[in-house]
Amino acid sequence: MNPTPAATIDSVLGNFSLLLALVLAGYNLIFGAISLRLIATGARTRVHPVRVLETARRAGIACFLAVTVAAGCLVYASFTGDYTVSYILHHTNNALSGAYKFSALWSGQEGSLLLWAWLLAAYGFALRLAHKRDPLLTGYASTILSAIQVFFLLLLVFEAPPFAIQAGPVATDGFGLNPLLQYAEMVIHPPMLYLGYVGFSVPFAFALGALMMRYPGEKWIRVTRIWTMITWLFLTFGIALGMHWAYNVLGWGGYWGWDPVENASLLPWLSATAFLHSVMMQEKRGMMKSWNIWLIFITFFLSILGTLLTRSGVVSSVHAFAESSIGGWFTAFLVIAIGVCLFTYLLQRSHLYSEHKLESLASRESSFLFNNLLFLGACFAILWGTLFPVISEYVTGSKVTISTPWYDRVVLPIGLGLLFLMGIGPLLPWRSTSLQSVRRNLILPGLATLAVAISMMAFGMKPWADQSSFFSIVAFSVGAGCIVAIFTEFQRGVVVLHKQTGKNYFTSLILLARRNPRRYGGYLVHFGIVVLFIGIAGGAFNQEAEQTMNTGDSVNIGGYKVVYQNMTQDSNDNYQSDFALLDLYKNGKKIASLAPERRLYLATDQPSTIVANHSTLASDLYIIYAGKDSDGQPVIRILLHPLINWIWIGVLIVLLGTALAIVPEYKGALPKAAAKPEGSAA
């Protein structure tokens, strides 16, 4: 230990930047609100309110610079090992590699709040730069964003300062990073998730701003939709990375444990997905305006609630930080935000009249309506399950936790219902559907569904045997129907364009996607979801074995033979490792050597499991070195997960489809097919 030194440049500059950012965001909020009010009332003032609004916008941009400097200071402190800063002392150590030193920025409470504030400032920066497209609406959105920014900066300055100085003599090494976070995916999972959470502030700001100013027409909803899609893309990627991390690092063999923090990330995803569907009804037919506004509001509230659950320690979770006082701040913010939204809605609801009514239950509109009800039903069920321990403790005094089987019973049927709607929804016309139209569009997907269900039962699956088999058979068969429906949509579109332009089928496919990227990107997303469901349904065929093994012992599972060879050890500055060396055989032939590992991190004295995984498209052979028995022999746990990789493939397709759907559509004229020479064969 060294004697206490003076504060370093990074902590002084970091603290100052946060304070400066708070002043700038406060200026943006106060003067933005005043100037918008003056513009709305048409009041005459000495300084033109638009000029004041412009300074507020610039303050928002300058706020981004200040928060960037603060975040940079924390990263700098991490890389230089500035242990005068308490946060750096508690979340890094000298032996950490560069990537993990960088990820220390979000590995603790204060740092992750700083990341929130920085991402929000970055989104605000992008929004404010593009103000010329619609200066007034952007002015409203910028002011609302600055209110959220002020909240996070207040937290950082007064409640969770990342640059707090550690009392006492300066340590020469830090306490290290949580071992569970020392994994490649953890370097990008939290920023992706945060880009999702934080990003929902932007559509929220646009929606609330449009409602406040009684924005004429529906153009604002296009801006909101695109921002929602970008944010949804990040959140989807973040959730998938989290699943992959849980699967590979937590060593329990699953990817989703209905943990409160996992649930918290799914809640805004579900409501945003509902919005991305129902918004089409507003754009196409001027319907569901109040519903859409509230879906955006709810998505924002849920993203704040998710942050509250993760940051405050209100619920117990492997992901959550220790219990802290910031819960009160978040609750107060949430109550104020709900109050402002409710007040604005009640004041301006006459603006949200519906231009058309639902004409038939068998129509595209009603399929969107049912899809929204299911999404929100899932959202409510998961929220109830997540908050139940808190509610039960408050009411009865004892904490009752809801476990995985409850979620499976409630959420899986809803998921299958959504899968069913995903198959038939796009095939239904707007307004109403005739019986002839139903026959024309639904026969082929219906036949595919039946064929798969009958084939699976013919091969010995019994849907009545247990819940898992039932869900699995329904998922496979309905999924097959969805795939046929999606491919029929592509095939029909390609044939029309091929006939119209004379281009080959591949070029016609590209033209089709460019001409309506939103629709065909959406179909690709649906296809990805079906693939993901197939991966999940593969869980019905999981196998498991656990055995204490001596040299030469073997375990047979799913056509594989796992043979234990011996143990080995390794160490570096950061951790010590024990490996169990195993050989893997299939059909009597050695196909791989695997080495599941247990690590002991030296700085934190915490163990960690590194799984060995033999991965193919058909299945994962997932091997965990579970520890040693009383005789010092390794206990090996082996799990066979059929089709699990289709989950990750499905996610990649979903991301690709979303990226396609964001691309602006091609509005130019299509090339015409060359006229056939006279006398040629028809």
């Binding site: 500059l13 400066l20 300074t55 610039r58 007034l136 707007w430 307004r431 024309r440 029309v496």
Partner: protein
Amino acid sequence: MSAFLVCAILLILCFAYTFWPTGQLLVQRNKSQLEFLHERKDVVYDNLRDLNFEFRAGKYPEADYNAQRATLEDEAAELLRKIDILAAKDPAAAAALKTSAR
């Protein structure tokens, strides 16, 4: 000392940028009813375009297509009628809108 110097530079930079005199102001006028109707008309045209495409793709039987098309055409005709009335009242605004659309 160097920490305070960097803080001072950051402060000056941020405030200078925020309060630097602006040249031309972006004063946005309120959207007119005429613009709003043109937006609605564009949406109905888009819906018609989609309907035609889906019909050619063989998604709808002819009777359904004709019924849907008639509804959308009625909607478009009603919007065009309103646009004509407003344009006749304010020819300058209609001309300005045409120019900006180009």
